[in-house]
Structures are given as structure tokens and as C-alpha cells.
Symmetry: C2
Subunit: 289 residues, 2 copies
Amino acid sequence: MFVILGGNGYVGSAFQRSLSEAGQSFAVVSREQVDYSKPDVLLTYLRDMSATFLINAAGYAGRPNVDACELYKTECLAGNAVLPGIIREVCEHLKLPWGHVSSGCIYTGSRPDGSGFTEKDAPNFSFRQNNCSFYSGCKALGEEVLDGAEQCFVWRLRIPFDEHDSPRNYISKMMRYDRLLSATNSLSQLTEFANASIACWTERVDFGTYNLTNPGCVTTHEVVDMIVRHKLSDKQFSFFESDEEFMQQAAKTPRSNCVLDVSKAMAAGLPLSPVHEAVEKALNDWKPR
Amino acid sequence: MFVILGGNGYVGSAFQRSLSEAGQSFAVVSREQVDYSKPDVLLTYLRDMSATFLINAAGYAGRPNVDACELYKTECLAGNAVLPGIIREVCEHLKLPWGHVSSGCIYTGSRPDGSGFTEKDAPNFSFRQNNCSFYSGCKALGEEVLDGAEQCFVWRLRIPFDEHDSPRNYISKMMRYDRLLSATNSLSQLTEFANASIACWTERVDFGTYNLTNPGCVTTHEVVDMIVRHKLSDKQFSFFESDEEFMQQAAKTPRSNCVLDVSKAMAAGLPLSPVHEAVEKALNDWKPR
């Protein structure tokens, strides 16, 4: 029995769909029903459910965007840094294997030679670098808290998208924002992310941290060109002149834009398609709300 | 009615004694009885008690010392960074004035001219400087979470001591450690700290952050000389050759050693005696266990 914490969120729902598709049995827990931020409550629940694997898709990402985390620091710290530690404690006590949805947003840019950051590179967009959003700082602390965790996967998601129009979908955001920031990023097709995460466990991949983005990277301009080519928007897209203008006019806190290396996931045989193909496919299959 | 969270700890007990001494009524809450980490529980409790002022003396400092925080990161983050945010939320909702016991350990060293750090100086021993213990990082995050809090005092304690021999007392530690680290520090006589904190509220001092250490600073050698002069130990005290030797042989994480400026507290009329006098007095009145 898989148990998904935060199973009704944007990422948790993708796990639900993937597990259903694979014919796996699973339970979805909402914090309102079971206060899994309390170790004893979580422990009892997992025992009662005879859980065999836990997926932590719970976290605080801020609404409508990451700027909200600058205002809700307590929630952000509790949901992204403390909760993973509580789950670790309980899972280690129960000897229950589990996976944590982390984020690639703990990096900025790329390696000096333009290649992506590997799992061995220390986060460079974190409190410790003093250059980050409160959200990225908390996600990086969450990974620190999991350092050395037993039977634990840390799955790094990065800018999720799929074919379903949604306020959390990167493609939808591109279509809706008035002006865009020109940047180069690795992205995660959401269904592929969930499938790859689940495969970590079902295929008995080694525990540890995995960058789970689609191989390669895209620029904002490339994505916009693809949206236009697919005739999904007839808007005149406009771009901020610079990061500085973006920060002054549209954002309260710096954004991570980064490239991740996925050779570890590839070598483990996790199914992730090249990013341009994945975006192309989402646009081909686009389902407006 | 004062309410003290963490009232049975080392610092909380000093608040109890000061409030008793002053003939104030107060309630001491332990987390086992009232889970004040839950906003709704705390809110109901404070309403039921008709609290007029809250003192947050709860936190996670690590046992036997701050090295333990490197192992118990979750507890450290929850107790020192998230809990203050929860209390802020509840107190602001109730329009209840309150005070938070913070720490001077978010600084290291002194200003370039040798003077102490004021409340206007940004912490320089924190995650954002990437030079600190996990404990200091969490205490600094706790202050970030309280930035802009309404009707809130942030009281910075630093290396507490008094005349009662105790594992938490700086003088007791000096007497018991095999070897000492040579350093210059501001210290807080514990009773004076609690009295000054309470005076912030009873004397209607402006809300905000206050360094509450005894004016001045002392070196480890000075304190050891005073202990010897008072014939409280006939031990041969020995010192580490350097910070590096200390880190290699005795510590898992860097320690803060720092000098704080207390002119803001002095100007507010808070009662704090010069540090050499305060140490001298504790040694005069020394009460072995």
C-alpha cells in the first residue's frame, strides 16, 4: 500500500494518476484528516494502513506564486524543511522506505561550462548562499534535514508542466503572464516525473537523490515559439528587458532559473523523454480548461 | 496574567523566579500539557487563561551542547524558527503583546573597531553567511520570521550564568570542561536577563529587538582567573591552542563568540550591571549543587 501525503495537491494528484494507471493500491491523506505533522499521528496512521511505501508530495509553495512564501515564512519552513524531518524520523522508526518531492530550485544558472548541475553539486541558491527566495532556502534546508536518511529517495522536480491547462502548469503560466522573463531552464513533465519517482521504488533503484527533469533545457523564447506555432495563443508575447527589470516590476524575490543534469536518472533507467519532445507533446495534446 | 511557554527550562525558570519576586501572577505551560506548537491549541489556551503577556522561553538548544543540534535538525528548526512564527500569528490575531527569547549567537566576533554589534547590525553567524552551527542558523531564521511582528519584543540572551551551579551555567561549564577555548564574549546574568525582559513590558519600553547582555565583555582567561581567585576550583585550567584545534578535537560545529552592544537597552533604562561585576557577584554567592 502506497501512502501519498499531500496527495490532493498539484504534484500529489499526478502521483495518484500514475499509481492508478499502474494498478497499484494507494491511500491519499490530507492534513485535515490526519495531522501528519505530528510524529505519533503519522506513525499510527502508517501502521494502521500497513503502508509499504510513503510518498511525500506535501509542501508549501505559495499562492499564486513563490512570492507568497516571503509573507508566509512559518508555513514555508514548517512545510518544506521541518515536515521532511518528521517523516524521516517516523519512516526510519518503522523501517519504511519513502520518497520526498524536492525541487531543482535550489540551484541557479548552470555549471561554468554550461552543463547542468548533478546531484553531487551543492545547492547554489539557498540560505547558505544568501541569494535565494525564502522558498528555495527552505527546500534546500529540507534536503539538509534528509542528509543521510535511510531508505529514502529525494526526487527533484523542476517547473512542472503537462497537457492540462492549470494555474500551476508552466505552459499555462507562459500563456497568461503579461510579460515573461527570458531564461534557460530544465523542466519536469509532471506525469513523467511521477512515473519516474514511482519507478525508483518499483524497479528497486538505489536510494538517494535524483534530478528528475526531462533531459536538456529550454529557453523561455523557445517555449513561446512552440506555443505560437501550435496556435494556442495569438497574444503578442513580450519580455522583460533584464532580470533587474523583472525584479523591479514583477517579483518580490529572486527566481531560480537553472539547468540540471539527469545522467544519474538516465543511468538508473528512469523513463524521462527529451525536454523539447515533452513540451511538443504537451502542446499537441493541449486540453484547455 | 503572564504566560510562559517553555517555563520549566533553564531560561523559563528564571522568568518564573523573576515574576514571583515581582509579585506577578503567571502560568507555566509545558508542551506535554498544551501543545502550543498548534496555533488553534495555543489560541484557545491563551484565551482561556486571559493572558495579558506571553513569554516564549521555549526552544531547542541541544543536549549536552549545541553539537546535538547538528543531529536533531528537525527539532532545532521546529523549536527555534517555526514556533516563533506560530506564536506571532496567534498573538497578532489576539492582539496580545509578547516577548521571544532569542540569542546573541547569531553574531561572531565584534565590529571592525572592536565594539559590539548593535541591534541594527545584520546577523553575521547564520545560514546566510554559511559559517554557523545549525542552532545559530535556526535562531537567526527565527528572527527573520519575526521581522515586522506587532507588539513583540525580541530579547537576545547570550551565554547565561548565575550563582547556581548547573550544567547550563557558563561558570559551571568553565569549571567542568577539560580544556577551554580562548575567546572574548558578552554574557547574560540570567536573573538580570529575565528582569530586564519583564521590565520591557512592565515599563512599557518600545517594542523591538534588544541585546540583553551585561555591558562589556570578558575573555575566557579573565573568567578562569576569577574562578581561581574565588578558590572555587583548584583545577589546572588548560586551553586549546587555537580555534582550529578546538574544532578538530572537541566540537562538531563552530561556536559563536561575540561582543554585543547594549546601549539600546541602557537607554531604555533596563537594569543590567557591568559584566565583570556580575560575574564577580555570581562567584561571591556561588552555590554548589
